[in-house]
C-alpha cells in the first residue's frame, strides 16, 4: 500500500521532471526564442518558441486552432473525418490519432508534435505520457462552460505564441454575438435544447453550453439548474417544463422524437402547439462546444425562431 502510494506520488511528480529535462535539453532553441509558462487545469507547462505541429484531442480545440489559422497535424476525430468537416465547414488535411476517449499515443508520438492540447476529464489520466511526447496543456472542453471555451481560445493562442490574436478572435466573436443579440426581438419565450436518443431524452439546462449561448443572446432557458444536463427523462418531464421553443438534437436513425409525434401529451407542449419545434444536428448542438457552434446556434435561433435573416 505504501509502495503503491509512493509510486503514485513519483508518477504525479514526473511531468514536472520531464518538462525540466525537456527545457534543459533544448538549449539551442531556448536562446533564440522566448519561453512562456502556460497555466492550465493540471498545472503549468513551459512552451518554447512558436509551436506549429499541434495535436488536438477535442473538437472544440480544433475549431479554436482554426480560428487562429492553424491546421493541427493530428486530431482525435473518433475516426469520423466528416465530423471535422462539419465542425469547420471545410476540409482540412490532418492525421487521425483515434478516438477522443482513448487517443492512440503511438500515432501522436510519430507526428512529433511540439504541442498537445488535451481535455481534463477525458485525458487527465494520460497527462504524464502526453507530456513525455510533447509539452501538453490540459483545458476544460467536456465540462466547460461557454466562458471556459472562450478562455480556452486565448490560452491556446498564448501557447502558440500569439495571445493577442486569441483575444482578437474572442472579441470578434463577442461582437458578432452582440449583433445577433441586438436583432432578437424582446420576448419572454423559454428555450430548451433536448437531445433525443433511441429511448429517452436528455434535457440541457441553463448550466449547459447551449444554455449559456441562450443567455448570451438574451433569451431564457426553460430549465434552470446547476447540472448541465438532465439525462434519461421521459415525456412527462418535458411536458412539465413546457418550453415555448424546443430544439430537438438527433443523430441519424430512429429516436424517441419520432415515437412521440402522435402522443397527445406531446402535442400539449407549448412549443409543439406554436410550431416552434426544430430538429437540429446533434454534433453541432451538443458535441462540438466551440465559438463557431455558438454563432451557428445563435443564428439558427434568430432565423428559425424569429424569422430574422
Amino acid at each position: 500500500m505504501i509502495g503503491l502510494v509512493s509510486a503514485r506520488l513519483m508518477r504525479a511528480l514526473r511531468p514536472a521532471f520531464a518538462v525540466a529535462v525537456l527545457t534543459m535539453s533544448a538549449p539551442i532553441a531556448a536562446q533564440a526564442q522566448d519561453t512562456r509558462t502556460i497555466t492550465h487545469e493540471l498545472g503549468e507547462t513551459t512552451i518554447t518558441g512558436e509551436p506549429v505541429r499541434i495535436v488536438a484531442l477535442e473538437f472544440s480545440f480544433v475549431q479554436a486552432l482554426d480560428s487562429l489559422d492553424i491546421v493541427p497535424v493530428g486530431i482525435a476525430d473518433d475516426n469520423q473525418p466528416e465530423r471535422i468537416e462539419q465542425n469547420l465547414g471545410k476540409t482540412i488535411e490532418y492525421s487521425s490519432v483515434g478516438t477522443r476517449l482513448e487517443p492512440n499515443l503511438e500515432l501522436i508520438s510519430v507526428l512529433q508534435p511540439d504541442l498537445i492540447i488535451a481535455d481534463e476529464r477525458r485525458h487527465g489520466a494520460i497527462y504524464e505520457q502526453l507530456s513525455a511526447i510533447a509539452p501538453t496543456i490540459v483545458l476544460n472542453s467536456w465540462d466547460g462552460s461557454y466562458e471556459d471555451i472562450k478562455q480556452a481560445v486565448v490560452t491556446i493562442a498564448d501557447a502558440i505564441g500569439d495571445k493577442a490574436k486569441g483575444e482578437q478572435v474572442v472579441a470578434d466573436h463577442n461582437a458578432r454575438m452582440a449583433e445577433i443579440a441586438s436583432k432578437i426581438p424582446a420576448n419572454d419565450k423559454r428555450f430548451m435544447l433536448a437531445v433525443a436518443t433511441a429511448d429517452n431524452w436528455s434535457l440541457h439546462t441553463s448550466a449547459s453550453f447551449s444554455g449559456s449561448i441562450f443567455a448570451a443572446i438574451g433569451v431564457k432557458t426553460a430549465l434552470e439548474a446547476s447540472e448541465p444536463v438532465e439525462s434519461g427523462v421521459g415525456l412527462e418531464r418535458l411536458v412539465a417544463i413546457n418550453p415555448d421553443v424546443l430544439l430537438v438534437a438527433t443523430d441519424p436513425g430512429g429516436t424517441i422524437f419520432n415515437q412521440v409525434q402522435d402522443n397527445s401529451a406531446w402535442q400539449a407542449i407549448s412549443a409543439v402547439q406554436n410550431g416552434l419545434v426544430f430538429e437540429v444536428n446533434r454534433n453541432q448542438y451538443a458535441r462540438f462546444r466551440d465559438l463557431r457552434t455558438a454563432e451557428l446556434i445563435a443564428n439558427d435561433v434568430l432565423s428559425k425562431v424569429f424569422n430574422v435573416q
Partner: protein, 338 residues
C-alpha cells in the same frame, strides 16, 4: 472439470516443468511480438534501438513495454486469484468476477472517478479499488460465516454482493452520467495508459503478496485429500480458506487498480492450467500464473491491433474469447456427466 485439488493423481514433475518452460517461452515470445507490433510499424533494429533511447524511445519504452509488463503481471495475478477462490470455495466457476470482488473493486473505482477531482484520480482510484474489493471480501466472509452454510453458500453470497455492487454502479451511472464513457472503458478493463510507475507500484504490491501465495501453495499441496488432512496436520480449514480468499482479494485489487476489472481470466486460466498439469497445487500455481499472463498479453495484443487506430479494451477481448470457451466448457461438462 475436476474439483480443485481433491483428486489424488500421480505427480508429474517432468511434465509440469516442460509445460511451465513452454508457457514461459510463449510469454516471452508474445511479449516480444507485442513490443514489435503496434499502430506504428517499426523495423526490428528500430525496436531494439528504441529500448535504449533514440527517436522511438517513447513508443517502445514508455508505451508498449509498460503495457506488456502490466499485462503479464495483472494476468498472472488475476489467474492466481481465480485459482485460490476456486479452491477456497470449492467451486469450479468461482472467480473474482463471479463472486463479486471485481464488482466491489469497480464500485470503489467508480466512486473515486465520480467524486474526486480529475487531478486526484491517479491515487484515489487505486485506493477505491482496494477498499471496495476488501469490503466485499470481508462481507463475504462475515455473512458466509453468519449463514453457517456450506461452501457453495459462500459463493452465492458473493454473487449477491456483486449484484448489489452492480446495482449501485448502475445507480451512479444514471445519476452522474458525465463520467459514463470513462467508467465503461475502465470497467471493461484495459492496459491503455500504463506507465513505468504503474509497473513499479504493481510489482511492489505483488511482491508483498508473494509469500502468502507460496505458503498457501505449500499448504494446498499437502491438503490434497481435503479438509481432514488439513485437520490432521493441525491446520484449520477455515483459516486456510480465509487466507486464500484474502490473498485472492489482494491479487485482484492490485490487478484491477492497474488494468480495470478484467473478467474471465480468473475463471478460465486455472482450468486450462489444470488440463495441462493436473490438480496438484505445486504444479498448478506456476502453470496458472503463466497461463493468465499469456492470456492477458494475447488479449491486449489483439485489442491493440484488430481495430487500428482504435483500441478494443483487453477486458472485452478476454470476454469475447472467454465467453465461448465457457459455453464450451459448460456444455462439455454437461455431456460428459449427463
Amino acid at each position: 472439470m475436476s474439483m480443485a485439488l481433491t483428486q489424488p493423481q500421480m505427480s508429474q514433475p517432468w511434465r509440469t516443468t516442460l509445460v511451465c518452460i513452454a508457457l514461459g517461452l510463449l510469454v516471452v515470445v508474445l511479449a516480444l511480438i507485442s513490443i514489435a507490433l503496434g499502430a506504428v510499424p517499426l523495423s526490428l533494429d528500430r525496436v531494439v534501438a528504441g529500448l535504449f533511447g533514440g527517436p522511438d524511445a517513447f513508443i517502445i519504452s514508455q508505451y508498449r513495454l509498460p503495457r506488456v509488463v502490466i499485462a503479464i503481471l495483472s494476468g498472472a495475478a488475476l489467474a492466481l486469484a481465480g485459482l485460490f477462490l476456486q479452491v477456497a470455495l470449492r467451486n469450479p466457476i468461482a472467480s473474482p468476477d463471479v463472486v463479486g470482488i471485481t464488482k466491489g473493486a469497480g464500485l470503489g473505482a467508480m466512486l473515486a472517478l465520480i467524486f474526486t477531482p480529475p487531478a486526484w484520480i491517479v491515487w484515489s482510484v487505486p485506493a477505491g479499488v482496494i477498499l471496495g474489493a476488501a469490503l466485499v471480501a470481508l462481507l463475504l466472509l462475515a455473512i458466509g460465516r453468519g449463514l453457517g452454510g456450506g461452501i457453495t453458500t459462500l459463493a452465492l453470497v458473493g454473487v449477491s454482493l456483486g449484484a448489489l455492487a452492480q446495482a449501485v454502479m448502475q445507480f451512479l451511472m444514471v445519476r452522474y452520467p458525465r463520467g459514463i464513457d470513462q467508467s465503461m472503458v475502465w470497467l471493461a478493463g484495459s492496459t491503455y495508459g500504463s506507465t513505468v510507475a504503474d509497473i513499479i507500484s504493481l510489482s511492489i504490491w505483488l511482491l508483498a503478496c508473494l509469500p502468502a501465495v507460496v505458503i498457501l501453495a505449500m499448504m494446498l499441496d499437502v491438503s490434497t485429500f481435503g479438509d481432514d488432512t488439513l485437520k490432521s496436520l493441525g491446520l484449520s480449514p477455515n483459516v486456510v480458506r480465509a487466507g486464500l480468499v484474502l490473498t485472492a482479494v489482494a491479487l485482484t485489487a492490485g490487478a484491477v487498480a492497474s488494468v480495470g476489472s478484467i473478467g474471465f481470466l480468473g475463471l478460465l486460466a486455472p482450468h486450462v492450467a489444470r488440463l495441462m498439469v493436473g490438480p496438484r497445487a505445486r504444479h498448478l500455481v506456476p502453470a496458472t500464473a503463466l497461463t493468465g499472463a499469456l492470456a492477458l498479453l494475447l488479449a491486449d495484443l489483439i485489442g491493440r491491433l484488430v481495430a487500428l487506430p482504435n483500441e478494443i479494451p483487453a477486458g472485452i477481448v478476454a470476454s469475447v474469447i472467454g465467453g465461448p470457451y465457457l459455453f464450451f466448457l459448460l456444455l462439455w461438462e454437461a455431456r460428459r456427466r449427463g
